[in-house]
Every structure is written in C-alpha cells, then in structure tokens.
Amino acid sequence: MSFLQQSLLWGLFAASIPVIIHLLNRRRHRTVKWAAMEFLLKATRESRGKKKLKYLLILACRTLAIAALIFAIARPLVGGFLGWGGAKIDTVILVLDRSASMEQQAKGSRVSKRVSALASVRKSLEGLNNPRLILIDSATGVAQDVPSPDVLEELSSTAATDTHASIPSLISSAIDYVLDKSPGRTEIWVASDMQVSDWAPQQGRWEAINTGLKDLPQKTTLRVLSLASPPENNMAIRVLASRRKANELVLDLELVRSESEGAAAIPITYSVNGTRTADKVTINGQSYRFQKRLPLGKLDGNGHGFVSIPSDTNVRDNVSFFAYGEDSPTQTYIVSEGGETTDWLALASAPPGLDRSKSVRMTPGSAHEIDWQSASLVVWQAPLPEGPVAQELTRFIESGGAALIFPPRGESDVAYLGINWGDQSISPRGQYFIIDEWDEADGPLRNGLEGTRIPVPKLKSIKRRAIEGDATLLASWDDDQRFLVRRVIGDGTAVFISTLPDYTWSNLADADVLLPVVQRMIAKGDTRFGSAFAAIAGSKKAQTTEGEIRSRLDTHAKSNSSNAPYEAGVWKLGDRLLATNRPKSEDQWQILTSNNLNSLFEGTSFKLFEDKGQSDSLAREIWRAFLIAMLVFLITEAILCLQPKVKKSKS
C-alpha cells in the first residue's frame, strides 16, 4: 500500500492521543474522602480482568479510529501491482511490450492493451509523486529517459508496432541499466500481454536473468503488469508466400481466428499495385490456409500489395503485405551417387508437363559447380557434404533454400547440421518397414489444402539407414526409428529421409510419397525468391542501410517516420523493395500462466498484477474503506461505552 499524501502519515502520532489522555487522567486524579471504603475495595478487586479488557478495547477503538482517519486523509493506494509496502521510489524502469499482439483491445475496453497499460502506468506514476521514468520498449530495446509520465502516450517509442517482443532481452537490458547507472531505489515494471512467444520461457537465459535480479546491489523490485486476457472476436490474416507464376500472382494465405467453432464467411480485400479486388472465404475451424491466384495481366517487373480483412479487436493483424519480383524457373540440383535413384529424383523434381521446373544432375565431386543463386532445391544423395560445399549449402539454406537429403549407399561418418547417417538396417525376410506415424499438419508429408492425406502407408521399405542427431521428427517407422526429420536453419529447411527411391531399398519411387515431398520442398525453396522481398517488421533486414532512404509504397496506412522501421507495410529502401509484416509468432495467442511466471522468476521477489480491465489505474484509492473502518471503530467504542441497565433495588 502506498499513499498519495504520504507526509500526512505523520498524523498517525495523533492516534496516541487517547492513550495520552488516559495516562494523564490517571495521573490527574482528584482526592475524595470516602466512607464506604469496604465496598470500594471489594469492587476494585473484582473489577480486574473483564472490565479492564473492556476498557482496553474502548481505548483501542479510539486509537484505531483516529489512525483510520489519518490513513483515509493520506489517500491510501492499494492494488496488486503496487501492492503493500510501497515506499518512495527513485526510478521506475518501464519495460513496454510493443509487439503487434499488444494492439488487441483490452478486456472490457475499446483501447488496445498497450494504450491501457500506458494509461495505467501514467496514473500509477502520478500516485508515486512522479519518480524518474526510464522506458525500454520492445521495438528499439533502447533505454530512454522520459521527462514526464504525461507524454508517455505521445512518444513514438510507445506507439503501436508490428514487431515481436523479446521480454528476456528487455529485462536483461533493465538489469544492465540498473547496474550501469545506479539509479537509487528502482522498480522494474514489465507491461506485457504475456504472450508465450514473447516471453520464450524455454530459453536458458532466464536463469541468468534471475541471478542478475538477485545480485543487483540496490533494492530493486520487479513488477509484472499482465494484460493477459485472451483475444475475443479476433481474426488475423497472413501472406505465407507470394510469387509470380507467369502472368499470375500466387498468394499462399492463412486465416486464423480466436473462435474455433462455427463457420464464418470472411470478406477479403486484395490490393495489387493499387488495384483492389474482393473475395469471400468461409472458415470453419480455427485456422484456414488457402491459395489465391490473382491475374497480373501484362504487368512486368516487381509489384506489391496487401491483403486485408475487416477491422476487429486487433487491427494490426487484419492486414498482411507482400511484394514480388520477376518470374523465374525453379531450378533443382540433384547431387547423387547415380543409379535409378537419380532418375526417380529427377523425374519427381521436373515431372513432364511442368515446363518451369528444371533439374540438373551432378555428382558429389562437381557439387561446387551448383549455381546457388538460381537454386530452389538441392537434393543430396551421397555422403554428407563437408568443407566449402557444406558451407555453401548451409548459406543456401539460411537464405531460404530447401535441401532434401537422402542416405548414401555406403557407410559415411560425416556429420552435417549436427546430423549424421547411422547403420544401415534391412527388414527381416518377407517383412517391410512401414510408416507408423507422421505429422499431417506440418512438414512435407502434411495434408493437402483440401485435407487430402498423402498415402504414406503405401510406402514399404526393406532397407534404410538410421538418422542420428538432433532434429524435428516428422515421420517414424513402425519400430519407432526415424523416417523423416527436419532442421530449420535461418529462413530455410533441410529434410533428411532415411531410405532411397530405389527398389532395392523401398518403393519410395512409386511417386505416391516422393512426388509430393519433392514438389513441396521445391515450393518451399521457391519462396526464397519471394522472401527476398519479405521481412519481419523491426528485423535487421527491414532497417535502412547506409545511403538508403525509406519511403512507403502501399496505400493502406501512413507511418510516423521514426516508427516506420517497426511497422508493417511495403517499403522502398534505396533500391530494395520490401514488404514487412508482423512475425508469425504474434498470431499465436498462447498466454503465459502465472505458474509459468512463478517458475521463471523463482527465487526473486517479483509481483504480478493482472489487469482485468476494471480500472485504468494500477492502484486503487481505498480511503473509503478506512472511513468505514473509522465509523466501525467509533460505533464499537460507543457500544462498549454503553452502561448496561442496572435493576434498581426496591429500596
């Protein structure tokens, strides 16, 4: 509890007045000559105990009534955020989550969680007699001195962004600030919507943060203002990929909504190079992925646009921007040991009828000749690469390329991306290895857009090679051995498959499984060319480099120049065309629970305040409660002072 008029608490000394009067009265007694002394002595003996207790209660009631009055005048503030024991604070470091999800409307309010948090912080700071305020916002991560809480909501560094927030980094920055500047009695206030992706509880750095908090030389309190209300009536749209295919623009889109039941027809607006079209999509579940082809006509060169849905409780996720470049054929490089495997892989990567797909066969020895700039997919069926080729391949993957890696026929102990091939195993005679489980929602074996399953169970294998190393398992054999694993490196993906499209190994070449896997990997790698035009808002790629000037190309909204690097939109950065969007993690509405938070800050004295939206202040004034308490004490005192009716004797 803290007080708006803390100096008035000196008045608490007045609570001792009844005690002082009592003591003075005891000393200032009058002397009376008394005849009926026998009865007086008897009464004095009998009056100890219950009567004395009653008198002490009366005295306590008087004292507490005065104390309650003083507390009421001092305007006490109470609230889970400021809590009990609030005292004079020299500095408040406000760690503000400015991520896109903070633009969700606060529960029971028309304003966003960010604005609600800022208003609450401003009012609380006024209640604390405006200590020095340091702001560390999630977009810039830079500590800045705020001259007055009144301007807090007007600063560009507290404005809405489409960025991600790394709360552990921000708290670390706050700790570093305290260590560096020694700002006196300090409190670190973290205002966040508690999104799991922002807090990253799985990160090992939390231990270091806890240690840092405990080891601070000054007494520093960490308070977390949680605005963790789950989104209601919210829908988000995202462009997963955008690419030009001849005279068409192909957009892979995803709709996500907070409600999971009931069908809803969502009107979608497509804007391409300033030309708008509209469409409706019906969503049944919680998310829906679909592809939209928009005719580009005879427009050549680069282009851009956005996709939007009607405004709802979070306007920041109702739009997604895209940009595209020239159409280019997809190039697949097949590095193979030869044999029928190479043929099947070449056929799967450039099947007849797909004129835009080309495949180039190479041996492991000539792998250094790969044109990495034009490649969408690299299929590697040979001992794992090493040396300069391995480095080139890694760079290729990091830039958004795809690699599909098959085992070599012979033994090899080379490791790549932390993975190496293990022993070869052969199924018992008359039996096959078959796929038992696979991820139907993610990875190259996922179901089709219409929910069609890939006939994975048709795959039968008699020979395979174990996959060793740390990777995400996407499909496994019936004996729990790994069939397909994935490593995500940078913007790209490497997929390892444990058998070969060779009939001495398996029937993978039957095209039921191989064709969709290869084509999906090509599509994945193809986004590399589209991703050249895409970036996450606030990321390094979205920043201007030396000599570059930023200008906004889309017509969806206008930007504040100082906040532009952190906003979604289509930008011209020097010669670069770039569409920036909020990170995908901002559409994952998982909330960190208070138990999770307790385990994150285990051993530190952090305080959690969950803003339920009833008040725009983190602290409530409770002087009325003290006035009521005073009345209760006075009434109790009056009741205790009432003399019981004495039955008068007939004499």
Binding site: N25, R26, R28, H29, R30, T31, V32, K33, W34, A35, A36, M37, E38, F39, L40, L41, K42, A43, T44, E46, S47, K51, K52, Y55, Q643, P644, V646, S649, S651
Partner: protein, 298 residues
C-alpha cells in the same frame, strides 16, 4: 436559636404528633405508654381469683355478691417512655458529598426527636459511640436535661473507627428496663456483628428503631474521572477508575443494604433507610406517624 440543628418551626409542626412506643414500656413514673404491669388506670384489664395476700381493697364486691366468689378486678398500668439515642460518631459519619454531613443530619434527627419526647413527658438519653469513646447521657424527663443533650450533640465531631456494635451491647447490658433505642448510623461495620448486637437489644425487650443514613453519592457512585479515595476512618487510600469498578461497587452496596435490612427485620426493628439529601422533617414525620397505634387500639 443557639443550635443550628434545631428548627423551632419544624418542632412546632411536629409537636402535634406523639412519639409512641410500639410495645409496652417499663417506666418509673406514670405516663402515656402501655406497661406490662397491671396498675391503677381507668382502663379495665381482667378479673382474676383472689389469692391470699392480695389487697382486700381491690376485691370486686359486686362480683362476690353475684357469684359468691372472690375476684380481684385489674386495670392497665400506664407508664412513661425512655428513649436512648445511639449516635454513631465514627469518621465515616463525617462524609458529605453536596448536602449536610451525615453527622449533621443525625444531629437534627436526634435533637428533634429528643425534644418531642421530653416535651410529651417522656425521658430521653444519648449515647455517642466512637472507636474508643463511649459517651452516655442517661435518660431523664427534665426539660433542662435537653440542653445537656443538645450541648453534647453540638460538640460531637466524627472521627476514628466505629464503636457502634460495642455501644449497642453495652446499652443492652446496662439498660434493664424496656426502652426505645433509636440508632443513627451509616452502619458501615460488620453486618453479622451488628445483627448480634441488635439481637442482644431485642433479647432485652427493647423497642429498636434504626435510621440507616447514607449519602446519595455513596449509593449511585456516579464518578467519571479516576479518583483517589481516602478512607475517612483509617485514612488508607486507593486510586481507582470509577468507570471500571462502578458496577461492582453498586452491587456490593446493594448487597450491604439488603443484609442490613434483613438483620433489622429479624429483630422487628423499625428500619428507615434515609439519604442525606432528604428533608429531615419529613423523615421525622414519617417516623412518628408510622408508629402511631392503628384504629381500635389505644
């Protein structure tokens, strides 16, 4: 008037009411009060058979003529009243909250009643008792004797502890003839011992009247602030919070008054609880009227 405890107007108003004894008295001269002996008054009492030695002059010859038997005709004897005023002069009798001190009130009562008694031809005496002093003026009928009583009353000052119980026992032992014993005291003594003394008086066939004199403040105990109470008899002091002890004090006082009342009732004493804020003339008036014989009796 010389004595401030005497009011001639009150005496004149009260003089019309006689002071009556509630039982037969044994006086030494003829008077207006019943005697347990047969005498020569005009009031017929009874016939009894003649026995040898009886005065033949008292034979009822008419009865002898009718019945041929000797009967002696007896008449009631009237005698005078002897009243003893027992005045408690212990320190506690000096207590005064607002009105007259208790001793002054007792002086008024004793002086007024003794005047009325002597005025109607009866004898009045005074016994002043303190812890160590026991002053006694034997009852006489002379008017000049009143001055002596008034003089003692005016000079009596309360002090020390009470000697009431011992004084009552002394009177019971010394006064052989039936008398009216009027006690004026706050009775702040051991009630059991007091009861024994009253029983002693009753055993000697004395008519007992008790004026139990208390102050209103002693009964109500309406103090608010803490006080230092000093005992008027032994001077011991106690600092007490009246708000804390008032209830228990009042209860103790009620118990005491009830105990005294019972003790007086047991000896058929004429008990009067009076407070010093009352009008003494009214108290005397009530005392006298309640003692008057009821209709049909003398």
């Amino acid at each position: 008037m010389k004595y401030d405890f005497l009011d001639p107007k009150a005496l004149a108003r009260l003089g019309a009411i006689p002071v009556e004894a509630r039982q037969a008295m044994t006086g030494n001269v003829a008077g207006r009060h019943r005697s347990p002996h047969r005498g020569s008054s005009v009031e017929f009492a009874e016939y009894r058979k003649y026995v040898q030695g009886d005065d033949t002059r008292r034979l009822d010859w008419k009865a002898y003529a009718r019945s041929d038997r000797y009967y002696i005709k007896e008449f009631e004897a009237d005698t005078n009243l002897r009243a003893y005023f027992v005045l408690d002069a212990s320190g506690s009798m000096g207590f005064s909250a607002e009105d007259d001190a208790r001793i002054q009130f007792a002086r008024k009562l004793a002086a007024t009643l003794s005047y009325l008694i002597v005025d109607q031809g009866d004898a009045a005496g005074l016994s002043v008792c303190q812890e160590k002093i026991h002053l006694e003026i034997p009852p006489t009928r002379r008017a000049a004797h009143l001055n002596h009583i008034f003089e003692v009353l005016s000079k009596t000052e309360p002090s020390g502890e009470t000697g009431l119980v011992e004084a009552l026992h002394t009177i019971a032992e010394k006064v052989g003839q039936r008398a009216l014993v009027i006690i004026m005291s706050d009775l702040f003594c051991d009630t059991n011992a007091l009861g024994d003394a009253l029983q002693h008086l009753r055993y000697r066939k004395h008519d007992i009247a008790v004026f139990h004199m208390l102050d209103k403040q002693e009964i109500e105990f309406d103090f608010e602030r803490p006080h230092r109470f000093v005992d008027m008899e032994d001077k011991t002091a106690v600092v007490a919070e009246p708000v804390l002890i008032a209830d228990d004090y009042r209860q103790a006082m009620r118990d005491f008054m009830q105990a005294v009342r019972i003790k007086c009732h047991d000896v058929h004493a004429d008990y009067h609880l009076i407070t010093t804020d009352q009008d003494y003339e009214e108290i005397v008036h009530n005392f006298l009227t309640t003692r008057l014989p009821k209709k049909g009796r003398k």
